[in-house]
Amino acid sequence: MEQKALKEREQQCIQEQPPGCTAACPVHVDVRGMVAAIQKEDYKAGGQLLYNMVPFPRIISRICDQPCQQACKRQEIDEAIAVNELEKSCVDNSKELTLKITPMPPKDKTIAIIGAGLSGLTAAVELGKKGYNVVIFEAKKLVGGSIWDISEHRLPRQNIAEDFAILKRIPLEINLHVIVNNHKNSKMSLDHISAAFDAVYLATGCIEANTHYWGLALDVGGRIAIHPATLATSVPNVFAGGSLYLGPDRKSPITSISHGKIAANSIDRFLQNASLTASREKEGPFTSLLYTNIAGVEPQTKVRSADPNQGYTTEEAVKEAKRCLLCECLECVKVCEYLAHFHAYPKRYVREVYNNLSIVMGVHHANKMINACNLCGLCEQVCPGNLNMGEICQEARRIMVKKGKMPPRVHDFALRDMQFSTSEKFAFSRHQPGFASSSTVFFPGCQLSASSPEHVKSMYQFLCKKITDGVGLMLGCCGIPADWAGQENLFKETIKAIEDSWRKLGSPRVITGCPTCYSIFKREWPSMDVESIWTVLDKIGLPDQKKEPHTSLKLVVHDTCTTRHEAALQQSIRKILHTLGHQVEELENSNEFTECCGYGGLMLFANKEIAHKMIKKRSQQSENDFLTYCAMCRDNFASQGKRSYHLLDLIFPTRQQDVASKKGPGYSERQENRARLKRTLQKEVWGELADKEQCNVKLIISEKVQQVLEELMILDSDIIAVISHAEHTGNKFKNMENNSYIASFKPASVTYWVEYSPQEDSFLVHNAYSHRLEIKGS
């Protein structure tokens, strides 16, 4: 994905589309904004929003025909919002509404407006505001057209007077009692006017039945041919609209006003020699693509005013306003703590990502946002436009890595941990002892081996017993940390190394112990015969269960996010639980809608705060114990106090007390567990001479210090490196106060400092810290 292609993804997010009401309103009044203002009893702000779009708010607030209501989302539940009544409340309850007119330099073009109804007057105001000279011709004795036919009760004359005050603020020439005719040589013929003026807007209303009168081309129905989007007629500088266009059956005050605005725009374009048609799709009513979820919204009928003659009281208006759904999408933000954390939504985020990647000099403010995403893909699942924020963040990370703009601290630790797993310390690959080939190879993965090495051993032995034609073993890491970190080359190298070992074993069928390894292998080698241990167990049967008194547990399945689309795998989990005699509870967001445990995308390393929020939110979705089938999911939930089992804990029960509440091993222990697993299997299963545990420095670390190390991601091996170096070279400081030593060492990019004291044959560690700034010398 290129940087530009990435930007185009933003279009998939429809959150910025207007609500249905606004799109259907011919002049696009911000109904949602207005209603929100009423909810806060700020009528003036509401009225002002109406005024922004309509030059005659006091009139329209009484007489609008409300096409907006047909598109009101609320209609799908009960009744549309009473938009026009709420507009009336805004107008009636705000002392003064003013329209700011920014004076424009006068233009030397003069436009004739024929007919001073709402449509003609709107065009006049719009053109006058733009600096054109405007000359109005009205047949009657006063301006306003057919609004005078409306009863005073419905449309108080005061409202008309106040709205028409605006006509005095703009220099307009108004000629009353002028009937435009079709007499040849008459000064008042349309021919003559269109020749004498730069442009004409014809808006005479529906009084003229005989349209031949105007000498304009007609359509098949015998009416003046008018372009629906531009209101152009057959004469290039003559435009026509309003009721003249709509006809007596489709009369609509708000559409007439909208036509006035469209005509003004057309005339302006015409006089500036600009395209009449370019990008005008959103003028006039259109259909919004906004999606709004209405699940769970309680029906509630429209508020009827106690006194219909008066309209809504303020209490009634507020009550009706509160029925409005304030339509928006935010489906993804509702399900994702990460998306919610940055207080916006993907359309904005994608733009921020794009801008971040384009910065040459300056601060990359979006780094944090890009690196925090757990790449789990839940957003795509719930998004009506299937926007996947994870793909965008992952691509952005790749670009950052390529440009050397990825902050080193974000993924450094996780990548070094991965490199431990792909190194000789853990990586291992063998046929089953006594076999020259493998029909199958078991790939338990680095995290299961780190969390539950004993389960890996049991499972391997079980598979060897069940599958008789040779089960090889491959220890290693599938490389996903590199993929998540945007390290394309490292990822490719890692996956290539696994492929090579696998080919050396004769390309056998692969059984993975970790769902994430499964997803990676499946994605990277579509031809590889790979299966998850769970579907395999479902087929070959479970290891014999001890006949001990068995408690049936009530368990909540937390599906792994990397296999959200693996329905068969998810099914097997439930079946196995059933076979084991446990009860299964389903979370609302499970299977393809499952949430991430906070580990995905290396979120836990990039942004612990959000990761913890995620874990907490997920944990609270059920009181019951979680059942996971990924070691990281299990340990993450347990780390924040959520009782959780790994499915293997139930298949291979140990004597350990209360496995569900047991916290997972720390970072150092995870690496040790892997290394030890390799050594043990090498010795016990293959009878090979394993490398000795190369550690001649023994550490004593209190639990408190251990916590500090965990928090700072400082491994025991780092501490050993510092102490070895210090003791070897003598380069250390002495703290005279307590006789302890302070020393530092920089094995790669990080400098570690340790405060320690020798104690018999060991070293007591008091404290440790680190930094990345390099000491260049003096």
């Binding site: 930094h771 700034l773 000491i775 260049k776």
Partner: protein, 66 residues
């Protein structure tokens, strides 16, 4: 704190107290001269915990987002 360092931390090799001296720190291609405690004789530089977790951490983060 500075006084304390001077009083209680000594270079183990040279067996003398530390003194402030010029040191160059660098990160991601940026270099800056600073004054830090070091051994006046062998030049071994001491970075206290507060400095590593405070000022240095801030500088690192700022440079990483540049």
């Amino acid at each position: 704190m500075d006084k304390q360092v001077q009083k209680i931390i000594i270079c183990n090799t040279c067996n003398i107290p530390l003194a402030l001296g010029k040191v160059t720190l660098s990160y991601l291609g940026n270099e800056f001269p600073v004054e830090l405690f070091k051994c006046p004789q062998c030049g071994l530089v001491y970075i206290p915990e507060e400095l590593a977790k405070g000022k240095m951490d801030q500088v690192e983060k700022a440079l990483e987002d540049k």
